[in-house]
Symmetry: C2
Subunit: 413 residues, 2 copies
């Protein structure tokens, strides 16, 4: 196919942005003589010059917009293409993502409700199509690389309980509880009492019904309210996959809540998507997927905990596990793709496919990280001697860490 000078200039601009990734770009419908890529390079096909122009003007937003509207197609492995683009140091993707600062979606009490509703109240049925049976929508922990998603999610629930060293009779507050799998796991396998907060109406309703069904309603209370309204005092604070929604400008407030509820004697765990370097989340992701989302650098989370004299005890980076989790999700999503199209529409389905593929790519490339941070108040009396108990294979969850626990300080207080 012959291109005019405008097309040629725009194509050159795209290639320059993606450099050194040797990207193949074509315009217009696949012609009968166009060959499948022999060098296995993915090919990006744009609908027309207007689409190409939009991509050059603002790739950070418009790659996603064009892809969703079928004005951009990727022939070849979508995850692989995105991963290679993410790997470009200070490449176009990174530059564009940070240049386009976007609407600042407010995470005020009211703004949060709106932002969370946007993503989590799509419908429980949608998430049931491609999440695991317990609806755990956060990074799994694969004990071995070929563990199933179900096993890996169960292993994750158990890992965070072990990391917090939960013991029967203790009280735990969970900020952002999703469909309730972790809260119920803590109650059932670790014998703790849980208050679990969430502002997604659909999720809370589902979680309450499950608690009822499993006879755990007296141990677990699901509360449809904002983390800022958490009150009372607890032995431990747990938050898995929620900090991403808090927003940088609310970190001090978030930390004050933690401090208020666990005091100086409690302990806490934060599990969240982060970055090596502070930077805004991809503009398209913020526009279409997570309004108000922010994935912090570890430094920012340390700065959040520091004023309260919390001791950071353990940080683990599980980004390889999140890449694998996203691959599982994407795989399941592809299998129900036609149903998603039927129930929603093609634009919605392609938007979600791109989001899942892009997430897998970002965790593979290291554009995103997954951190678990364990911390304790300065007067916390009971902390494990080392981390060995996290890796003991006893089969039975919840039994491992109790004997291992150690009074650090037979001291004064």
């Amino acid at each position: 196919m012959q291109y005019g000078w405008l097309d040629r200039s725009l194509l050159a601009a795209i290639r320059k942005m993606a450099a050194p990734v040797p990207i193949r770009v074509e315009i217009g419908p696949r012609s009968p003589e166009s060959q499948p890529s022999r060098d296995a390079l993915p090919l990006v096909r744009l609908k027309d010059t207007r689409a190409l122009f939009a991509l050059v003007r603002n790739p950070g937003i418009n790659f996603g917009e064009l892809y969703s509207r079928r004005e951009l197609e990727v022939e070849g492995d979508l995850v692989r293409l995105l991963e290679s683009l993410y790997r470009v140091p200070q490449g176009a993707v990174a530059r564009m993502a940070s240049r386009w600062s976007g609407w600042l979606q407010s995470n005020s009490l009211r703004g949060s409700r709106k932002n969370i509703h946007h993503h989590y109240d799509i419908s429980n049925d949608f998430y049931k199509m491609w999440l695991d049976s317990q609806l755990v929508y956060t990074c799994a922990y694969f004990p071995s690389e070929n563990a199933s998603l179900e096993e890996a999610q169960r292993a994750k629930l158990d890992l965070v309980c072990r990391k917090l060293g939960l013991r029967p009779g203790e009280t735990v507050v969970e900020a952002g509880c999703g469909w309730g799998a972790l809260a119920l796991h803590m109650a059932k396998h670790y014998g703790v009492r849980v208050k679990a907060f969430n502002i997604s109406h659909e999720q809370i309703t589902f979680a309450r019904e499950r608690a009822q069904r499993e006879g755990l309603s007296s141990q677990v209370e699901f509360i449809e309210d904002d983390y800022r309204n958490i009150s009372g005092s607890f032995d431990a604070f747990m938050s898995v996959g929620m900090l991403e929604h808090v927003g940088r400008s609310h970190y001090r407030e978030f930390a004050r809540v933690i401090r208020r509820v666990i005091g100086e004697r409690g302990r806490g765990l934060l599990h969240f998507i982060g970055k090596n370097r502070a930077a805004p989340l991809s503009a398209w992701i913020r526009k279409r997927i997570f309004p108000g989302g922010y994935t912090p650098a570890l430094r920012e989370v340390m700065a959040m905990l520091e004023p309260h004299n919390f001791s950071v005890l353990d940080v683990e980076n599980l980004r390889a596990h999140y890449a694998k989790t996203c691959e599982h999700w994407l795989d399941r999503f592809e299998r129900c793709y036609d149903q998603v199209v039927d129930r929603f529409d093609t634009t919605f389905a392609r938007m979600w496919r791109l989001y899942l593929a892009g997430s897998a790519a970002a965790f593979r490339a290291g554009t995103l990280q997954l951190f678990q941070v364990v911390f304790a108040g300065r007067a916390c009396q009971s902390l494990p001697w080392n981390r060995e108990h996290l890796y003991q294979k006893s089969g039975e969850p919840g039994k491992q860490n109790i004997e291992q626990d150690v009074e650090w300080t037979p001291a004064m207080s």
Copy 2:
């Protein structure tokens, strides 16, 4: 004993500073009728009103000064007393330590040499009296709480090698190698080649002789030079107990050195004393023990790594292990106390006793923390799937992690 109004006012001031710790303070020599403390509270005995006045004026410095000169005695458990004072939230000790900002000992190339000479060139024989047989002068890792100091130091050397995932044939640069135990351990048990830097002449001389004796000179090169002069490129960067001497104002320089030598593909480990909150080291410790010393908050170390796009993979807090290490050291020190007095003098011996006791107390109380931070460059290709291999008991060091290692990224690069 009857005190005048001045003594009484000063005693009241001291008690107020220590509150809520119910401290007992007396002035003058122990009188025949003075009873040993029945409530097991330690008693602080000051030589005279002048000593008491000095303590009130500047406890952060003068507790140590008076103790060293025998103008202040502690009857009862010294570690316990210091620990209880450290536990006072925002107490006198903390306030005084930060109020007195002290001489800023420069860690320039020349300043560092002087500062390091002050502490480490006291004489190898002195350290041989009370360190373990390998002269490891950093936090040990006690596999169980009643492991010996020798076992625990060996376990620590092994732990940091496993954390870095060292493999035969790799190259490692060590910044601040002490008497060389870790460099030799890496070479002997992990088959790597090591360049180990240190600016303490006595230590380097000792390390070279040991390498010679053990036939490891071809694998380990001990270099008497500053970390800023490290050149070449390496698979891994190791630094155990040295960041404390770098000084906050040199962190950016330090990080640039790391980045220069491991690039984007390498990995690194920093093991250092830190704090929950950024604050200067105790004034007395800086004056008498570690001129130029600074123990950072974790946030400050994260901020150091962030500009270079390093991924933090693992942080572990081993402060309970450092408390125990210091208790072992103090115990050994007490057993050779008379020899230390003979060889140096009483002031020196008491100064060191206070430093070791104070360190044990600070780690117990959580005034100090011990962090091990593992990180990797963004293009690092081989990282372990999880941390299980750190806790496999194979008896044989160095064999565990190789099969466990995993290519995260079969990808593009």
